[in-house]
Amino acid sequence: MTVPLTLLGLLEKEPSYGYDLKREYDAYFGGDKPLPFGQVYSTLRRLARDGKVTGGEAEPGAGPDRKPYKITELGTREFDSWLTQPIQPEPHLQAVLFSKVVLALLLGRPADSYLDIQRVAHLQRMRELTEIKRTGSLMQALLADHGLFHLEADLRWIDVTSARLDALAETVRSI
């Protein structure tokens, strides 16, 4: 979850104070990991510095009055662009697995057992996420689903790669 953009999104709804933003963030996105106050205020300060929000702490010497944070036109544009553009698909894990497999084959190590070990870890995580889905709130269930579909895609890749290891080994060694 991208905290600055999410806070911008909450401010797009209505101007708000740091404390309320934190509470709202935690309710929607926090799960079991609430956003620390420090991070809320440091993020809001950076957003203010970059001209994406206004408000917050009054000028030094201006007394205890605080103004609610308010999104600027620049902030709105940034949030809008983030919301409407597809995010970068996440090939990171795949790339790590791929590197491991290719290196294992190059080094004559047991690539198949690395893949098996990864399969076990994936299934374990999928069981955990399924349990969250079965017992959690709708929001938790949908987050868990997101994880499940990703892990399932990894598993399919693991299966396909397992089935083609011999051919891949030949290819790797011929390069």
């Binding site: 070990i117 076990v120 999928m126 955990e128 349990e131 969250i132 994880g147």
Partner: protein, 265 residues
């Protein structure tokens, strides 16, 4: 037996397996489907048997359920050899101790929902009134209220699978065998069927042997094993280590990482 995750919980470990395949071989013509498959399922356990098409996972289920006889090896159910029983005795056992759900419900389209569910009881010579009452009791449990009088040919795929599930559970089987039970359903409908399957089996204390190629379906089970080339796959010891946990690159995975979950029930 080797599995693709931790060994069963201590309580289950101590118990005698409810069903077991010991070094089972089975071929179809010249094609070997199982070549030394060994698997033990503990009472009350929910086990998913995974594997690609043609790996032998369905053959293993059919052998465990006494539908196929192994060419070699042994099948044990509740302390007795299943594969050496007479056909009559094995058929009897299948009807009374086992329940089956397949990819396509295999309901009798001319019969009503209630009659389909009651069928195993009627075949067991239960009185019609008692059988119907027991069948009807399953309707609300599986969200089939008001559908008892419908012909099963008129049902949606998800409804039909729920009827098939009720028919499998109405005899209160010791083991429920499910072969790709969500294979013909969309994601959400399949999840609903799995939820009901796991929930009902758990309430009844029924052991589940679930065959699926779908990891998301398999994740409903307590434990997964992988069948490959006719064998239940051996997994390296290191596999159990937490170091192999996948990177929490997906939002859902982060939820899991932050949440204490009792995976084994």
């Amino acid at each position: 037996m080797t599995s693709v995750n931790q060994p069963p919980r201590p309580a289950a470990q101590a118990a005698r397996p409810i069903i077991e395949a010991r070094d089972v071989y089975r071929s179809f013509g010249q094609t070997p489907a199982l070549v030394g498959a060994t698997l033990a399922v503990q009472p009350g356990e929910m086990l998913a048997v995974m594997g690609p098409s043609g790996s032998g996972k369905s053959t293993l289920l059919h052998c465990l359920a006494g539908i196929y006889t192994p060419d070699k090896g042994e099948i044990w159910f509740d302390g007795q050899r299943l594969d050496t029983l007479s056909d009559t005795r094995r058929t009897e056992l299948r009807r009374t101790a086992f329940g089956f759900v397949f990819q396509f419900g295999q309901l009798v389209p001319e019969l009503t929902v209630t009659d389909n569910i009651a069928l195993p009881l009627l075949l067991g010579r239960a009185g019609r009134k008692a059988a119907t009452a027991r069948a009807d009791a399953w309707l609300p449990r599986l969200g089939l209220d008001g559908l008892g009088g419908r012909r099963t040919g008129e049902l949606s795929g998800g409804q039909a699978q729920r009827v098939a599930l009720a028919r499998a559970l109405v005899v209160r089987p010791k083991v429920l065998f499910a072969d790709e039970p969500t294979g013909s359903l969309d994601t959400l409908t399949g999840e609903m069927v799995m939820e009901l399957l796991i929930g009902s089996a758990r309430e009844e204390g029924t052991t589940v042997v679930l065959v699926t190629h779908d990891a998301r379906v398999a994740a409903y089970a307590d434990r997964q094993v992988l069948v490959r080339d006719g064998q239940v796959m051996a997994i390296p010891e290191a596999a159990v280590g937490a170091h192999a946990a996948p990177a929490a690159h997906a939002a859902g995975a982060e939820v899991a990482a932050e949440t204490e979950v009792e995976v084994r029930r």
